[in-house]
């Protein structure tokens, strides 16, 4: 018999990432069928209703009420699981109480305590974020807004306010920034230099900054804008244009790089105009737009790695040499030969399993251009949007950081289990030839992203071999030597089970393309 038990604790706020980790522990409890530990936000209450885990108390819960709902095989197990959850939560409370620093509840109090504060990082639930941003801007503080689910109307209003005040309002949904050399949220430890970046793409900014360091360059600032800044005409690329203006005035910045998914046409025009006026060499990567073109001080890059390569060449006063692979061509051919020689007939499909949205898009756009018919949850062509994002079809590139995968669970960069599950699922498909993966290092990412998926990758390779075939796994690591995960160790782990590790996402995608072309 299945038993449901629900506990609602009034006025006990915990942050979502912490609750997701507790949720995971409770789910793993012996005899527990399903469990939800979350705050009573509208979205969560709906989710609980769908799962049949709501009672009257749950339905009237607010975002300040904690809900623990457990479905278990007996009353005893359910009670034990709830007790275990409470214990974990109490441990957290007493840990916070023990830390000697006082934690202010309001922004006014925080500023009183830290009068020289100049930036606020906001990651509270989206429904409450706008009012906090407004307060911060009105107190003349720069803002990085990590929260998503902030309305377009609020974004426009807040960015107008930021513009009036001349302040940064990075976001909403801004996951990455590097200000004055300090990595904010999901960002890597990158050397200082003379290249300034404004990006409307989180992992795109990570890939470009890491590649800049790889090519021997460094950065001044990495300003994030949030993905809607250029996509929507009313937002109008406001934060990107302010970022460009600030980099223009910054004497440390010699070269400017801008990154975005294809912008709205009128917005692209405004941004390009702003770049022209800087008089500094500018590299533009608008995913596929104008690649290879040069107009005055503007250089258009085809991919993220190229944007970094061009910027470093410009900063050093060198000529940029266009090339697909930074490893020798013979070596690439030898890898393709090795990776394809033991494949079974019928192995023909690509499965891109990404944690980074911009990296997934970069691969998808490349494959779409070269061979077409790429299924994805990020596809703009309706006929190629995956019918069920949890199930691949044909050539598929899936962005596992998409909302459909992250409701009630942490982003796959933090918790690799979403991707692990997907790898296990994909390995049952005998038509898969290549798995293409990103490994994103840096602050806020998992402490061992390669190690966490190694077992499942190994299993997938064994399974293909048992079927008389060979599974090729092509990866790239977005990271620097300064990142705490130890990039060399990550690479060694992947190579120890026969994964190919390429120097960038672009090169990994190009290699996967060569393999698919050879067997397809």
């Amino acid at each position: 018999m299945i038993l449901k038990k629900i506990l609602v604790q009034k006025d006990s706020y915990y942050d979502s990432v912490f609750l997701m980790l507790i949720n995971k522990e409770v789910k793993q409890f012996d005899g527990v069928k399903d469990a939800v530990v979350s705050m009573g936000t509208d979205v969560n209450v709906e989710l609980l209703k769908d799962m049949g885990l709501a009672n009257e108390e749950v339905e009237s819960a607010t975002a300040n009420d904690l809900i623990i709902a457990v479905e278990a095989e007996s009353e005893e197990v359910a009670e034990k699981a709830i007790e275990a959850a409470k214990e974990l939560l109490n441990k957290k409370k007493s840990e916070s109480a023990e830390s000697d620093e006082y934690r202010p509840v309001s922004l006014d109090k925080a500023v009183e305590m830290l009068p020289d504060a100049n930036l606020v990082v906001i990651s509270v639930p989206g429904a409450f974020a706008a009012r906090e941003v407004r307060k911060a801007l009105n107190m003349n503080l720069h803002v990085m807004l990590f929260s998503d689910n902030v309305s377009l109307e609020d974004e426009i209003e807040l960015k107008k306010l930021a513009e009036e005040k001349g302040l940064l309002m990075m976001g909403p949904d801004c996951g990455t920034a590097i200000i004055n050399g300090k990595p904010l949220c999901f960002a890597n430890v990158v050397k200082k230099g003379d290249i300034g970046i404004v990006a409307a793409a989180g992992t795109g900014l990570q890939e470009v900054t890491c590649s800049i360091e790889k090519f021997g360059g460094g950065i001044t600032q990495g300003i994030g804008t949030g993905g809607r800044d250029l996509k929507n005409s009313q937002v109008g690329g406001r934060m990107m244009r302010m970022g460009i203006e600030a980099l223009k005035n910054d004497p440390e910045t010699k070269v400017i790089v801008v990154i975005s998914k294809p912008p709205a046409e009128d917005v692209a025009g405004k941004v390009i105009e702003a770049l022209k006026e800087t008089g500094k060499p500018c590299v533009i990567h608008f995913v596929g737009l104008g690649a290879g073109k040069q107009e005055g001080n503007l250089y258009y890059a085809e991919n993220l790695e190229e944007a970094a390569g061009m910027a470093v060449a410009l900063s050093k006063g060198e000529k940029y040499e266009k090339r697909t692979f930074t490893i020798p061509e013979e070596e690439v051919e030898a890898i393709v030969e090795r990776e394809t020689q033991n494949m079974a007939p019928g192995q023909k499909y690509l499965r891109g399993l990404y944690t980074g949205g911009t990296l997934a898009d970069e691969a998808m756009i490349l494959f779409e251009r070269e061979i077409g018919n790429i299924y994805s949850n990020n596809q703009t062509k309706p006929e190629l949007v995956l019918k069920d994002p949890h199930t691949s079809q044909g050539h598929t590139i899936v962005d596992l950081g998409d909302d459909v995968f992250t409701v009630g669970r942490p982003h796959p960069m933090i918790d690799p289990s979403t991707r692990e599950e997907r790898i296990i699922k994909e390995m049952e498909d005998p038509e898969v030839a290549v798995m293409l993966l990103d490994i994103v290092l840096g602050y806020s990412s998992h402490e061992d992203p390669a190690g966490a998926i190694l077992d499942s990758l190994k299993k997938a390779k064994v399974k293909a071999k048992e079927r008389g075939g060979y599974l090729s796994i092509v990866t790239s690591i977005t990271g620097t030597k300064g990142d705490f995960q130890n990039m060399d160790e990550q690479k060694k782990k992947l190579e120890s089970i026969g994964c190919v590790v390429m120097p960038s996402n672009y090169q990994a995608s190009m290699l996967a393309l060569k393999i698919i072309r050879k067997v397809g």
């Binding site: 942050d15 705050m39 934690r103």
Partner: protein, 59 residues
């Protein structure tokens, strides 16, 4: 376009107030940034309607 405060920020030491996920504050401490973690709670006891009303009243 007025961006003077941004250029001033570029010349200053970054000092951060972190409102929300605590790990972001830990990361900043790790790289030597002065940071204050807030004990943020949903306003008006988590009631969105009252919260938005208060926000409009400037509270």
């Amino acid at each position: 376009m007025n961006v003077k405060p941004i250029n001033e920020l570029f010349k200053k030491e970054l000092v951060v107030i972190n409102m929300g996920l605590e790990s972001f504050a830990d990361n900043l401490k790790d790289v030597g940034v002065k940071v204050l973690q807030m004990n943020w709670k949903p306003p008006a006891g988590g009631n969105k309607k009252i919260s938005s009303l208060l926000s409009r009243l400037g509270r």
